[in-house]
Symmetry: C2
């Protein structure tokens, strides 16, 4: 208990719950860290996909980046409308469920849960890569560093770091500032014609179809778009007028994201940077633009690591929130819906941390090994969310519903096409895991809901016959000998009913006689019934006897009182026959019988 | 249940227990399989130890075998006396405990338990080696074959194969016959000067001290002596006059064992056989003596495998018997002392099988990897048993006690010296495991006994004040809402006492009001008490309330009745808050409070 309060702090009273409201400046920092941070690796992932073809296709990186930027504009326009239509927060799960039904909602929910886990793994490993690029000596410790970072985020969120929201503006603006500085200096060097490292020539490592390589590069680059939906999920967190502030923030974010991404891709292309092991593309670019690894270089690496950790942190808000919403709908275990001591959804935080840590370990802490799994979920959620909006307008048929429907429809079709490109081009590299996991999760959520529905109907008192009181109460105390634990049980049994019978199973007639004699003295006047057991089983004669009593009093209830030791050390349990436990286990399934243990507390 | 009866058969009635009495012919077969079977590997282990020095020391094998044969005579003479002094069965544990005290008895017991496990592992792997020598294609499947054999022995013994005792004479006599045939034909070839394969010359694989190599070879050969004590443990199983029949059987056994061992060692030496991978020395010898792998060869291999399995089987009798004796003395968990459905000590059989299987897996199914662990325990038990006998004669001072004491004393000193040689020469090769394990086991057995003693004194009713009846019974039903499981619990609570209070922990005032209203309708007249919980904990307000009730009725008892779901599938438990379980866990340690679950049986 004290370890727990040391790690996550004292409990917080329910009434202390409050809703912070953010200005646009703070909101941008809070909700865009996930989206913006992806520029730290998106360009590199495009280049990594292209170098399969050697340097032959490397110059496509710029074109691909422009296409992705256009895609950002389409998706953002679509979400702009969602914000106005769902001012209370229009996450893909809610929009899809409301408009397309439970099944589509669950698909969107499953896709998002998976992508939240991946956001943590990808952002953390990319953040660690920013650090190990600057300090190569740390490179062998990538996995451990990532796990430590995840553990710290978990602890921080279990304590409820949300309270400290405003501090989180700092890394985002640091990152925006440092990347724009990088791009500014880089563009200046480009315009002044400063010297450029000579282009390297690489051979293709395998035979390839150019179109597939380019599509895979595009799919990898689409990871830049993860996190775009964050603002539309969090409309309610903005100051009034919420939809207006949220949508303006969304446009700012898109503008910053697009220009940073295009800028980095352009400069990487211009300075002939190729992806290498152990140093990120952004690190190489910063080292070239700032002419070596001086203070500006370390500043960039530091800001990058910081925003990536912050991006991972947003998943620690989104995952527990989404799972609590799904739990409230009965699609996730109830435990995800209950707030812990510190008012946060502790179970969601723990599960997210554990899954993300598992992915980091399984994929060896390498960002580019995780990338093929990433973005599939996000684009599925995009598509379902826009499709849900199309349905929304069709239902509403008010105002500019036709224009809005066309915009969302165009968004839905575009993201659906991209989804197919991503899932198929990265399928064999890992996307198949997600393609399998989503239906599995949907199936499980439906099973959970089915279970809760069934329980609810069984527990319902509506229309059920009113319960009547029991007519008789028989108490049976199985007795293994005459000792203190047994006499304690008898003493307790006597307070329960006037009909108490002690039952002794006989293995050995001599021993039985001895027990009967001692019973005269210590038995507190309770009759002792001896049962024969030719096969040395305690269970069967006892169960037969219970059955007899039940037949005698069909409208009564039976309590079986079992003496129980409570030893001081867990392993002492191994030294005692667990007959009482076995009897309790069997009686659990017998109707009209309740088993009770009377604990006797033992010293060592 | 039906799987269990298929595997191990129907339960057997207690009255069916009987003691078979053996003639000398049957007794020899039953009790000597362990000792005799070791000639299948003892010579090979001597040679394996010697080839470390290349062929330089290989001819010492014969001398070592003669020394071991002399040792057999000394030990058997000593045990001859034990049989007459302990006609009811003088296992080392009993003899050492009776004469030297609990601690020495426990050391002997631990040593024997370890050696019983090793007997299974060594005999089974050696038996499998006899088969894979004949059918080399099976060689890669050694471990699996060994595990299957152990599993079959376990099952057979759980069924109670002891009943079929007489069948077991067959493999022993088959083996004796086939080995004497081998030795006879071999000696005939030796005497008639039939051609011999030329001696190979091997280089030493490492630098060595000749004396250490020879001592290690001697230590390895001493595994031939394991199992000698079996007859003296089983005196009671012989027909009257038991001591006479048992001691004559012992002498027969020693004579057969000694001559087979010397014979095999002599012929292996004569025919220049060296140990090789994948074929046993005995297999090579048989192939040479019988001029190829014909029917006599396969007969030998088959008989060898059979007696080795039988030898392993004796451990399946001895281990459970010894552990039941130790359990009766309170040194082992009580469960080892109770007979199962089939009148056998099932727990001992299961534990032995699991440990032996683990050793086979850990040591890769290789007999010679296990040998360094073997025989340490046996010689320790020999020594303690003889030392105990010395003490016995000293105490008795009757008849020829001086002569007898000298004989046992000589035996004790000899086996003690051999024990030191074995433990030190094989220490680094694995004997250290046993040297550590024995004191650990002794410590654990003493802890077990201490625990039982402490429990017994705490449970004793002698001199304790007589229990008085409780003056009051308060029943508390924690309620999470108004539903069927809760109402069932209320219905049960009402039969227990007139003082029943339902307790509801309030998180949300609106919800509380709703519950209070429904309670009017369904609460069966039981008062509902609402407790506040500012920190959303159910536990703390409830515990405070229980404390209040306890203060109100200090001489009463409290029952907390908890509604419990019994879902159909185990994973459904994950879908419910385990608050009831938590409450029960906490109440287990509160004096004067009994927690009871009222099960409500749910469908899927």
């Amino acid at each position: 208990m004290s370890l727990k309060s040391f790690l996550i702090g004292q409990p917080v009273e329910t009434v202390k719950e409050k809703h912070e409201r953010f200005s646009r400046v703070t909101g941008l920092a809070i909700f865009s860290s996930d989206a913006l941070s992806s520029v730290a690796y998106a360009t590199e992932e495009i280049l990594l996909a292209l170098v399969v073809a050697g340097t032959a296709l490397i110059n496509y990186s710029m074109a691909i980046s422009v296409v992705i930027a256009a895609l950002i504009i389409i998706v953002v326009t679509s979400y702009f409308q969602t914000i106005h239509a769902y001012p209370s927060g229009g996450g893909s799960y809610i929009v899809a469920k409301d408009n397309l039904g439970d099944n589509f909602g669950l698909v969107a929910g499953a896709a998002l849960l998976i992508d939240y886990v991946l956001t943590v793994s990808v952002s953390i490993t990319a953040g660690v890569a920013a650090i190990t690029s600057a300090f190569p000596a740390l490179d062998p410790h990538k996995v451990i560093l990532s796990l430590v970072a995840i553990a710290l985020l978990m602890l921080g969120n279990l304590r409820g770091v949300r309270e400290a929201g405003r501090i989180f503006s700092v890394p985002t603006y640091l990152f925006i500032f440092s990347i724009f500085a990088l791009i500014g200096v880089g563009l200046f060097k480009y315009l002044t014609g400063s010297p450029v490292p000579p282009p390297q020539t690489l051979q293709a490592t395998e035979s390839y179809f150019a179109i597939f390589v380019i599509l895979k590069a595009f799919a990898s680059g689409c990871t830049a778009m993860t996190g775009i939906e964050a603002v539309s999920n969090g409309v309610r967190a903005f100051k009034a007028p919420e939809p207006r502030n949220a949508s303006i923030t969304l446009i700012w974010m898109a503008a910053i994201l697009g220009s940073m991404f295009i800028g980095i891709s352009f400069l990487s292309d211009h300075f002939n940077i190729l992806p290498i092991a152990n140093e990120t593309v952004l690190s190489q670019l910063a080292a070239i633009v700032f002419a070596g690894k001086g203070i500006p270089y370390y500043f960039i690496q530091f800001a990058t690591a910081l925003i990536l950790i912050l991006a991972a942190n947003t998943s620690f808000q989104d995952f527990p929130r989404l799972s609590s919403v799904m739990a409230a709908d009965g699609f996730m275990p109830r435990q995800f819906g209950s707030r812990g001591d510190r008012l946060v959804f502790s179970n969601g935080i723990l599960i997210l941390g554990l899954f993300a840590a598992a992915l980091v370990v399984i994929f060896g802490g390498k960002t580019n090994a995780l990338i093929p799994l990433y973005a599939v979920g996000v684009f599925l959620a995009f598509t379902l969310s826009q499709a849900g909006m199309v349905h929304h307008w069709l239902k509403l048929r008010e105002g500019k519903w036709r224009r809005n429907m066309v915009i969302n429809g165009f968004g839905a079709v575009t993201t659906a096409v991209v989804l197919v490109v991503i899932a198929s081009s990265k399928f064999i590299y890992g996307a198949w895991i997600v393609v399998i996991a989503i239906p599995v999760i949907v199936y499980l959520t439906r099973q959970v809901r089915k279970h809760y529905d069934s329980i609810a109907s069984q527990l319902s008192l509506e229309g059920a016959p009113r319960e009547v009181e029991f007519e008789h109460h028989s108490v049976i105390v199985p007795v293994s000998g005459v000792q203190r634990a047994v006499i304690q049980a008898i003493r307790y049994a006597k307070v329960l009913s006037d009909d108490v019978v002690a039952v002794y199973v006989c293995f050995d007639p001599q021993e039985t006689e001895r027990v009967q004699q001692k019973w005269q003295e210590y038995g507190m006047g309770v009759p002792l019934r001896v049962l024969d057991s030719p096969y040395r089983s305690v269970i069967e004669p006892l169960m037969d006897y219970i059955e007899d009593v039940r037949t005698m009093h069909p409208d009564g209830v039976i309590t079986v009182v079992l003496p129980e030791f409570v030893p001081q050390k867990w392993w002492h349990h191994l030294l005692h026959n667990q007959t009482a436990l076995l009897i309790k286990g069997i009686l659990l399934f017998k109707k009209g019988v309740v088993a009770t243990s009377v604990p006797l507390h033992l010293r060592a």
